[in-house]
Symmetry: C2
């Protein structure tokens, strides 16, 4: 069994209104000195069997097409175990 | 400067319809053997100055109250640098 974590974040040049709202709320609730907050998505994917090269390549492809929007988002893919 | 990443995930016993939809889509698009997908949120928080004990405690408190819903979600807090 393999576990893969895909993190999807807005590209740095794209404005993140959700992150901005969280930044404001953290400040109002007493956490000082928050300079930036970005909010993204996380997918934890469990796979049967081993993650061979073909499935790994397919997963990388789908992370860029299905799980993220390449126009405005970047993703990172990490094999956890 | 300190960077903290807070990951928020539905508790394991809570049904995750978004994750289930992604699981189905990955299968239809050619990734075989996906046994489970869970979808969560990720917050990347940049802080000015060092993360001392008081701010760290405040952040932990707010991660559990503002960033996540303790009734249905768990969170993990990681200091990146």
């Amino acid at each position: 069994m393999a576990r893969v974590v895909v993190n999807v974040m807005l590209k740095p040049e794209i404005l993140d209104p959700q992150g901005r709202a969280v930044q404001g709320a953290l400040g109002r609730l007493g956490l000082t000195g928050v300079s930036d907050v970005r909010q993204g998505k996380q997918f934890v994917i469990d796979l049967e069997g081993d993650l061979d090269a073909a499935r790994s390549a397919k997963l990388e492809e789908l992370a860029g097409e299905l799980l993220s929007n390449p126009v405005i988002e970047d993703f990172t893919l990490t094999v956890v175990d």
